[in-house]
C-alpha cells in the first residue's frame, strides 16, 4: 500500500523524502500561501498550519529519531519560506527547539514529549539570541541563575522571544552566578510558559508579526532536573551550533526562491523593460543553485565539530542572507508598482529578507564570528 494513502496521514520515519516534500509543499502552496497576507498584516499566528506541517514531517526530519535528515528539514523550511518567511522562521524556531530536546539526552524531554513536539502537537521556540551573542563576546548574558536545592532559580528578562505563548516552551540559557556575583558557567533549560512567567507584548515590528513574539520576564523561576537541557551549557552549544545556524539557511533560500518566482510572474508582461535591470531571474537562479548545492553538501554532516566546517556554515548562512536581500530588492524592481502594493509578496519579502539579515546571528555577527574563528593563536 502506498504510505501516502490518506489512512496514514501522520509522518513516520518510513516516509520517503519525496513523500514528505509532497505533503509539505501541498500545505505551503495551499493553506499557507493563502494565509501569508494575514500572517504578515494581522499578526495571525498560524498554529493550524504549523500543526499540519508537523504532521507531514516538516519538523521531525532532522531529528535522530526520524532519520537525521537535515537536507530534508532544510528542504521543508525552504518550501515553507518560499510562501511565507514568518512561518519559515517559526519552522526554524520549532526545529531547533526539537534539536535541543533530543540532543539533551534528558529522558524527561524525550519520548512522547519530543514526539508531540516533532509532529506539531505542541509548540516551542528558542531564546538563544542573547546567549549566543553573549558567548561570542558581543553582549552580556541577560538571564541569571543561582543554584538551589534540586536545581536553579532563574531571573532576568529577554526582550523578544518567538514562537511562544501560554502552554508553550522554549530553549533558554542562563549564566550561573557564584556567591561573589561572578559567572561560573551557564545552564540550558526548557522554559515552560506557565502562569508564573510574565509575557509582555512587544512593540510593533516592521515584519514577521505572526511569529508570536513576546518579551519574557522571569522572577526566581525554578529550573529542575526534568527541564535541564545541558549543565554546563557551553559544550552542548558548541556541539549543536553549526546545525543551529545551518538550518537558518532554509529560510534564506526559501525567501530568495519566492523572490525569483515573483520576477518570473511578471516576465510575460514586463520582460521587455525588465531586461534593463540587473540581478535578472536567470542570474539569481544560478546563484540560488550554487548556494543550494553547498547547503545540501553541508547538511550531510551537521555535527562535524571542526572549525573549518563551522566557518563554511557561517559563510553559507551569510551568503544566504545577502542573497535574500539582493533577490528581494530585485523582485520589487521587477514587479514595479504592483510589487509596491501593500498586499504584494515582493514588499513583504523585502521585510522578510531584512529579518533574515538581522536575526541572530545577524550578518555582522556572522562576520565577527568568522573573523574570530580565523585568528591564529599566538603565545600570550
Amino acid at each position: 500500500m502506498n504510505p501516502a494513502d490518506l489512512t496514514t496521514p501522520i509522518f513516520d520515519p518510513s516516509w520517503s523524502d519525496s513523500l514528505v516534500m509532497e505533503r509539505v509543499t501541498g500545505i505551503a502552496d495551499g493553506a499557507l500561501a493563502d494565509a501569508a497576507y494575514r500572517i504578515d498584516h494581522e499578526g495571525l499566528y498560524p498554529l493550524e498550519v504549523m500543526s499540519s506541517l508537523g504532521e507531514s514531517g516538516a519538523f521531525a526530519a532532522h531529528l535522530d529519531a526520524y532519520g537525521a535528515r537535515y537536507g530534508l528539514a532544510l528542504e521543508a523550511m525552504r518550501a515553507i519560506s518560499r510562501r511565507c518567511g514568518a512561518t519559515g522562521f517559526l519552522a526554524w524556531c520549532h526545529d531547533v527547539c526539537g534539536l535541543y530536546m533530543e540532543q539533551s539526552g534528558n529522558p524527561a524531554l524525550m519520548g512522547t514529549v519530543l514526539e508531540d513536539h516533532a509532529l506539531g502537537r505542541s509548540f516551542g521556540g528558542t531564546a538563544l539570541s542573547n546567549p549566543m551573542k553573549a558567548m561570542a563576546g558581543i553582549e552580556k548574558m541577560l538571564l541569571r541563575a543561582t543554584k538551589v536545592s534540586g536545581g536553579y532559580r532563574v531571573s532576568g528578562a529577554l526582550p523578544w522571544v518567538s514562537h511562544i505563548g501560554r502552554g508553550q516552551y522554549c530553549g533558554a540559557i542562563a549564566g550561573v552566578l557564584k556567591d561573589d556575583g561572578s559567572r561560573s558557567h551557564e545552564i540550558m533549560f526548557l522554559l515552560r510558559f506557565s502562569d508564573d512567567v510574565v509575557l509582555r507584548p512587544c512593540p510593533a515590528f516592521s515584519g514577521m508579526e505572526g511569529t508570536s513574539t513576546w518579551g519574557v520576564r522571569l522572577d526566581d523561576y525554578f529550573v529542575g532536573e526534568d527541564t535541564l537541557i545541558a549543565d554546563p551549557a557551553q559544550p552542548f552549544v558548541a556541539r549543536i551550533r553549526a546545525a543551529f545556524v545551518l538550518l537558518q539557511a532554509g529560510m534564506a533560500v526559501g525567501v530568495a526562491q519566492g523572490c525569483i518566482d515573483s520576477m518570473h510572474d511578471v516576465e510575460p508582461v514586463l520582460g521587455h523593460v525588465n531586461q534593463f535591470l540587473h540581478d535578472r531571474p536567470d542570474e539569481l537562479q544560478a546563484e540560488y543553485d550554487e548556494l543550494g548545492a553547498r547547503v545540501s553538501r553541508l547538511a550531510l554532516t551537521p555535527y562535524d565539530g571542526s572549525d573549518d566546517y563551522l566557518l563554511e556554515v557561517l559563510d553559507v548562512r551569510t551568503q544566504g542572507a545577502e542573497f535574500a536581500l539582493r533577490a528581494s530588492q530585485s523582485a520589487l524592481l521587477h514587479q514595479g508598482a504592483r510589487g509596491y502594493l501593500m498586499n504584494s509578496a515582493p514588499q513583504r519579502r523585502i521585510r522578510e529578507a531584512h529579518f533574515i539579515a538581522i536575526v541572530t546571528p545577524a550578518i555582522k555577527h556572522l562576520r565577527w564570528e568568522m573573523a574570530r574563528l580565523s585568528k591564529e593563536a599566538v603565545p600570550a
Binding site: N130, E139, K140, L142, G156, A157, L158, P159, W160, R200, C202, P203, G215, R217, A286, E287, E290, D308, L311, E312, L314, D315, V316, T318, Q319, E322, R367, W368, M370, A371, S374, E376, A377, V378, P379, A380
Partner: protein, 445 residues
Amino acid sequence: MSTQWKKFLCRACGLIYDEERGDPDSGIEPGTRFEDIPADWVCPLCGVVKADFEPYEGSFLPSGVWAAGRVSHKAGVVIVGAGNAGWAAAEALRALDTDLPITMISACAGDRYHKPELSIALSRRAEPDKLVREKAADAARRLGIQLLVDTIVVGLSPALHQLRTTRGSFRYTALVLAQGARPALPAALPAELCWRINDLAGWSGLRQRLGTRAKQVAIVGAGMVGCELAEDFARAGHQITLLDIQTAPLAGLLPPPAAQRLQQSLETLGVRFLGAVQVASVMRADDGRKRIVTTCGQCIEVDEVVAATGLVTDPRIARIAGLAFERGIVVDPRTLCASAPDIYALGDCISLDGAPCRFIEPIARQAGVIARGILGLFVEGYCHRPPVIRLKTRALPIVINGASVPGGEWHVVDENADFLAMEQWQAGVLQARLDVGTPHRQLAA
C-alpha cells in the same frame, strides 16, 4: 552643583536612558538620576529590568579597519594577500594598466616589508617599524588600489566570480590568490606556546617578548629558517638550543660534510645543536617558562620556543572553491592559471608540477605573467627555474645553484679550512653546485 547628565544603555535592545530627558511615558520626569529610578522600572522599548542597563559613554569605533577610502564591492581584479606576492601582482597590473580597478584583501595589516630580513633582524637591533619599507595605506594610495586589511576570505564561488570575506562579498573580473603559506605546526607544538617567524607580526611579538635581556630560546627545526634564526638570535646575545629530527642541521638539503661545517659554525657562535631528537610535548612550567620534552625523554626548559618546522599552504580556500590542490594551489606552469576560469595564483601558495617553491626570486616574474594574462596581452609564458638558494648565515654563507636531487651524490671540488665547494652530477649533467664558506682569495681581496 554638577549637572552633568549621564546616559545608560539597555544591554538587550540598545535603548539609551538619558537622565536629562528622563522617561516621561513611564512616569520618570526629565532630570531623574538613573539611581533614583524605581527598581520596578523596565526598559520602555523591550521590557528588560533596570539591572540590565549599563553606563553609556559614547560609541567607539575600531580604527584602521580601512587602509584606503570607501569600499566598492564591484572590485575589478581582486588580489588575496598583501605579502610580497600580492604586492608584486598589484605593481605588475598597475604598470600595465593605469585605470584597472584593483582590490586587495589582506588578513593582516598589509604593510610592505622584506620577509627574508626577519631572519637577520634581531642581531641588527631592527625595530618592527624600521622593517616596514612602505605602509600599506601609502602603497595602496600610490598604486591607486582599494585595500581591505584585517579581512578574512571565507568563501569563493568560481562559477559566480564571487569572493566572500568578513567585510562583505566581492564580484571579481579576475582573482589572484597570493595567500602565502602558513607554518606547519606539529601537534606537539601548541600554537599558544610556540612563536612562528613567518610574518612581521609574529617576529614583532617575539621581539617584544625577548626584550633587552639575554633569554634562553629553543628553536625547533633546523631547516633554512631555523638555522638562520639560530645564528641571528645567538648574535643578539641569546642562548639558543636548536633541535632537529635529523642528526645535523639542514641535513635535508646539505650533504654531510657541508652540514657538519654548518653545525660547527653555529656551535662556535654558542648555539647548542641537539640532533636526532623529536619533540613529544611543550608545556608551560609553573614559573611561566616552557618545558620541552623529547620522545627520548630529554627535558629542556627555556624562556621561549620558536617553531621553524616548515610551511604549508592552507587548503581551505581551494577546497571551498573546488580548485585543484596538491601541496599548494595547482597552477598551469606557463600561465599560472588555477583550475577555474579567471583565477590565478602565485608565490608561496602554489604548486608547480606537484611541488611548492617558496622563494622570493620567482615572484616578480610570476606576477608579470599573471598581469599580462589578466589584461589579455601576449604572454611569453612563465618558465620556472630553480632559484639560487642563499642561507643568510653570516658566519658561514652557503649558496646552492641549480636543482639538487635529494639523496644524490655530491663530490668535493674544492676544500680548505674555510671553504668547501661540492657538485652534484647526474648522467653527465651538472645538477647543482654548493659553496660553503668564503674562498681565501676573496677574503684577501
